[in-house]
Symmetry: C2
Subunit: 413 residues, 2 copies
Amino acid sequence: MSSLDRANCEALDAKDPLAIARDRFHLPEGIVYLDGNSLGALPRATAEHVQTVIQAQWGHDLITSWNKHGWVDLPRRLGAQIARLIGAQSDEVVVCDSTSLNVFKLISAALALRPDRKVILSDNGNFPTDLYMAQGLAQLLSRDHHLEIVPPEAVIDRIDTDVAVVMLTEVDYRTGRRHDMATINAKAKATGAHTLWDLAHSAGALPVDLNGTGADFAVGCGYKYLNGGPGAPAFLFVARRWQDATQQPLFGWFGHAVPFAFETAYQPKPGIDRFLVGTPPVLSMAALECGLTTFDGIDLALVRQKSLALGDLMIRLVDQECAGFGLTLASPTEGGLRGSQVSYAHSAGYAVMQALIARGVIGDFRAPDLMRFGFTPLYVRYQDIWDAVATLKAVLETAEWRLPAFNRRAAVT
Amino acid sequence: MSSLDRANCEALDAKDPLAIARDRFHLPEGIVYLDGNSLGALPRATAEHVQTVIQAQWGHDLITSWNKHGWVDLPRRLGAQIARLIGAQSDEVVVCDSTSLNVFKLISAALALRPDRKVILSDNGNFPTDLYMAQGLAQLLSRDHHLEIVPPEAVIDRIDTDVAVVMLTEVDYRTGRRHDMATINAKAKATGAHTLWDLAHSAGALPVDLNGTGADFAVGCGYKYLNGGPGAPAFLFVARRWQDATQQPLFGWFGHAVPFAFETAYQPKPGIDRFLVGTPPVLSMAALECGLTTFDGIDLALVRQKSLALGDLMIRLVDQECAGFGLTLASPTEGGLRGSQVSYAHSAGYAVMQALIARGVIGDFRAPDLMRFGFTPLYVRYQDIWDAVATLKAVLETAEWRLPAFNRRAAVT
């Protein structure tokens, strides 16, 4: 393979059909942002729209805005926008609460479908909060329910007739390794288990086909590839066939059949709305709405194609430029097995990442030794990958990551 | 008692020591807003502060803002601001999730303190979502736990040695009737029960003394008297003595002892932080922060004094101006027994309220027949009470509420 240079990368950008999407975002000058898998960048539309909601809606129309400006419909309206990105029907998705809380609701719903089974199956590549929520629920139930954690590659064989629910994150937050959703859904169905997918690192990064692959339940995050802003509300998906057959235990008034009748006994709304709990956080939802509109007119097949091309380019350039510096690729080389990120292990990964950030290349670090580089195809360019790798090479060549400033751990990295 | 006129009300405003606080809010021209107990008005500082968080923090500093701009501390920082308003220590309160979810967490925590007791005691004046959350939890536990609902006045005598937790809203959302927190806490303590107070209609409206009265747990709402914006995050209080002795079942990563170690097993953080679940909704929290700063330098004793004076004035003026129109006072006349609202029953309450709103006097309606008028002492004036009652009189005299336009029910009132 011939060696690549920056001009080659610029040429790729010049013919990128998604290049127009970058204008939908505010990106600071001089920064290469490869951390959209932790916090998506700011869409250009957000600031003004949130101002309108604050001043013209809340400020001027006050309480009447719940109807007048459709605040009450936000969970469903935003859910319908997300549905297209994840292969769901518009009435199968709502936006609400946090990913953690939505995991709790949907494990509960899934367990109730299989009262005879006690195993919640997951893998050690799942994001910890999902595992914690399962542990909390199992402890609360105290009916022999337990979380069983196996390695990712062992999941498929472990799915058996004692498993109530298979709870997995499609794309591993550390390595980017991707589960085969169709195969796992099929095995679960064959054994009578149900599946709960966490799409935190999938939704908006690659096409997901929940209904096409027979998924039962799913959750996902609003603040990563959906660009909803820090701590944006999350979403949940319940396949139509389970909506009226299940309920979740967090009986809140927004999930009540007639919330404004103020009855003392809970009765769930029909359909997906029963998975709502409290009053929707309107300002955060307004920001998420702008994040979702960055996908208007965007073909997710092109998103996936570019995402893989960016990852392949990164792997190739690191091989070309950074050999001998102790970097070990921690992500699958084969695109089909990978999400929208590439991770490298390095014994001084934390300090190297801090040195990169100091030079304006923002990725992040995950214990014990992983440097993550996330690719948001709507705004990351091929030339950004060149610049990131060139900067990585400079940091490693100069060994500037050995400076004390880069070795101090912060609370959040 | 001599009759009052608008000039008398203006004179009261002229000598009101809280008059300065009204400038801290954006209030639309020509509107009398008596619905701050449903959605607080927009503070003047909010729009600009949220812009800064969106543009300078999220937009420019991206992921680094979690530390650089203290996003990670928001739950505790805002909690400490609320603590002063409710008689708590700064390390006893956090802002997180919705009131409903916080009720779920704290009933769970309270039940775990009394595993031998099965009764969650509440009253039929509690806000329904609190009752629903208790029903959902009891159903999930399936260990004979149950919610028992009695009339408000029967609560004190029903507290007995079989009650695990007494869960009450201090101020009734419909009538404004106020529970005697000190007496109920004392009876609960004497019988070995714990108390969980919902301060949705108390926090910011009147001084609350959680520690002085021996309360165990409390929750409250950010979008009513705290002016945090539509669907603002809620708060919760856990008395210091219970923080390490209890935990809640929604094991989320923000409640984990070392969230960024990404361990697979949950272990709760020491102190109040274990009551956190998912990633904090930064934009909504930024707005709430501005709501809380409207209380800077404000003496809550003056807030209470004005709140009661506004309520007394409303009752007096309705007696004076609106006799014979079928209005029945549904709130206690005695200030000490009342929160910061006055409600009237009327057989056409919904339509009368719609007619009032059409004339710019905004209160709200609660089924079956109650018109609610809430008083936020920081921005409601005595002359507003005059104008509200004069408008009410006009609506009743003209019987314009009989028009079809005012009799159509909307989804949210």
